[in-house]
Symmetry: C3
């Protein structure tokens, strides 16, 4: 592996985990503001958008962690950590936009997509290079 003490990846992962906790809290606040008691997940449109925004982040989060660490361990830790910070910002833009209107979720959504494409491609390059080297003794 490229790095044996991936402090930067760990720092971004921990930050993203805290960010997920903050977004969950936002749903809780929206419940209170719109008087939607658990376990109900339906209510005024703004609450439902807030709830779905969080759900989408929940769906994306493990995919983010896999691509972050793949890129960070096999391509470049610094690059992965930097793009990982962009991910957190992208999710915040997505969430804030979606709370306002369904259409306003799109800019943050496209930025999220760009992060996934970047991390996946760089991770793929790193893995292929590693497999060629380890199993076929081809040095690129």
């Amino acid at each position: 592996m490229g790095t044996d003490s991936p402090f930067l990846l760990a720092a971004v992962s921990l930050l993203s985990a805290l960010h997920m906790g903050y977004l969950a809290r936002r749903v809780g606040w929206s419940r209170m503001a719109h008087k939607v008691l658990p376990p109900s997940v339906t209510g005024p449109p703004q609450f439902e958008r807030t709830f779905r925004a969080h759900q989408n982040c929940v769906e994306c989060y493990p995919v983010f962690l896999v691509t972050l660490w793949t890129c960070g361990m096999f391509f470049s830790e610094l690059t992965a950590a930097a793009v990982g910070l962009v991910y957190i910002i992208a999710r915040q833009i997505y969430f804030n936009g979606y709370v306002k209107s369904t259409k306003k979720r799109l800019p943050g959504f496209y930025l999220t997509l760009a992060v996934f494409v970047t991390l996946s491609l760089l991770g793929l390059i790193g893995i292929l290079r590693g497999i060629l080297h380890k199993y076929l003794h081809i040095h690129l």
Copy 2:
């Protein structure tokens, strides 16, 4: 740990992450086909089955990653990677089946279960062997 450059585990993880992205896309296509606008998650039965099929994959995914890496790092990387590929296929069969009918989700569901049992058991063997060796100096 058994392996210090787990390229195969990383490759299967990255592939599974891309597969999760593809399944999310399928939900988006189903939204368009059935005219179900976000944030709504209710609509014609086929859309609701597609939505639930994806949700089930979201629920399973972190469990898969944990069992994949446990088996791969502490038992055998090659075995874990091969079974991990079966997982992706199992989820695809499950998803395609569930879209058609609730009952047709079952074959893919049972194959998923078989993957979890296999990865967990092998991972457990590897961990127990490791704990006996590291903490009790018993070599199996």
Copy 3:
């Protein structure tokens, strides 16, 4: 990293993954008891509370894994593993409470929160210490 064969973290992770499988099973049993056929996720209040209890565990699980491993790799493996066991108990208390009534989910919820705060803070200490050492050559 603090540990190169994190068997205890792997053991707690595997146990938590099996616990997630058990909670998913509980939702399945609740479906049968209340005759709620998939893909429906609405029904009698007790089913809906059971369903939401599981969903909340799904939302929390990747956050748990990140904080567990951050604390375990960069602060102390034994501490993280012990607090990780408390997490599994906390989620069980939360789940059982939520099935009974919405209010009874709170003790398990607060215990979960305490676990997250503990793992995050210790992980943060470990990461900051590591970054100071690796990048700024400051030894604490």
